[in-house]
């Protein structure tokens, strides 16, 4: 009986401690832009991360694995530019270019 109890407690401890190693799997998105600036009031958003390029032409963003979406937000409205897969420990490069008054998105993984 005592042995069973010890086993149960050890199993419980193992389950609890296994939780310590839990880490979210992530990958990376490199967002490159080949245009000068966005229209006034527009913001680029990758999933829930706002992208602020400042004076730079590319950013590297860590994201959880799965499907990621890039969109342009203006006030309450948003427009999806593209969707792509983020894979564990891998980089996906998204290039944004101006085209026909809007933005075009090309993805390389």
């Amino acid at each position: 009986m005592r042995l069973k109890l010890t086993c149960a407690v050890l199993a419980a401890l193992a389950v609890g401690l296994a939780g310590c190693d839990w880490r979210e799997e992530t990958g990376f998105v490199e967002v490159k832009k080949s245009f000068a600036s966005l229209a006034v009031g527009d913001t680029l958003v990758l999933n829930e991360t706002m992208l602020d390029f400042g004076t730079r032409s590319s950013l590297v963003i860590q994201q959880p694995t799965g499907t990621a979406g890039l969109q342009v937000r203006r006030g309450e409205t948003s427009r999806k530019l593209c969707e792509f897969a983020v894979r564990k420990n891998r980089m996906v490069t998204v290039t944004l270019a101006a085209a026909n008054g809007g933005l075009r998105c090309s993805v390389q993984s």
Binding site: V15, C20, R56
Partner: protein, 227 residues
């Protein structure tokens, strides 16, 4: 089933699991705080008031040390890869290398903690710079001296945040190289040319070594802004 555990034993084991989970949570939440408290720059941070500048300086110093450590491990991994002869081992080593570079890149990404601290510190330094420009409380010479210090501080802060951005670019490039070579090696393996696959991976070790040398120089130049 009912013979195995009495309700009391079940309750005890459940309590054990909850305790372990709580212990785990407590460890996870307290370790980073303690690590930060006991960090190499803790005496300085204990003496200096906590400002966005001090927080950034401390973190940047820690990041630099981590980068040095991981870069050494990347070099070791490159050495291991060079001596490989089996395709399955080569594949595994490339995956491990990717994980290692990802871990490092995670430190310097643009949505990471250090980048956020850097932006906050730069904003703070700029606001102080502005405050000194509009100051009417101090004498002109005092104001000038403070202005000069804040101008210098802003310049150093801009350099440090630029360095971080450069680091994320460098590691991103390295990760792309490794993943592309790894993908090519997998394709070669798929067409059943094991020798060629091993050769591709061994060549990758050379690329990684070259990148690592460049990174070493870069890490040396990554200096936390002075107080």
């Amino acid at each position: 089933m009912t013979d195995l555990f009495t309700p009391r034993q079940l309750s005890l084991s459940l309590r054990g699991a909850i305790c372990a989970a709580l212990l785990c949570t407590a460890m996870v939440t307290t370790i980073p705080v303690r690590a930060a408290e006991n960090g190499p720059s803790s005496p300085a941070s204990a003496a200096a008031p906590s400002t966005p500048l001090n927080d950034f300086r401390t973190q940047l110093g820690d990041v630099r040390k981590s980068l040095e450590g991981v870069n050494a491990r990347i070099e070791e991994k490159a050495k291991t890869i060079e001596s490989l002869s089996r395709p399955d081992a080569a594949k595994q080593q490339v995956e491990e290398l990717q994980a290692l570079i990802s871990q490092t890149l995670g430190l310097v990404v643009d949505n990471g903690e250090i980048a956020k601290l850097g932006a906050r510190a730069l904003g703070y330094a700029r606001s102080k710079q502005e405050q000194m420009r509009n100051d009417t409380k101090f004498t002109p010479s005092e104001r000038q001296a403070l202005q000069k210090r804040w101008d210098q501080n802003v310049a150093e802060m801009v350099k440090a945040t630029d360095d971080l951005a450069k680091a994320s670019g460098e590691f991103a490039q390295l990760l792309k190289t490794v993943q592309t070579r790894g993908d090519y090696a997998s394709e070669v393996l798929e067409v059943e040319n094991a020798d060629e696959m091993v050769r591709v991976v061994r060549n990758l070790a050379g690329d990684v070594r070259g990148a690592s040398e460049g990174l070493k120089l870069f890490i040396r130049s990554l200096t936390p802004p002075e107080s």
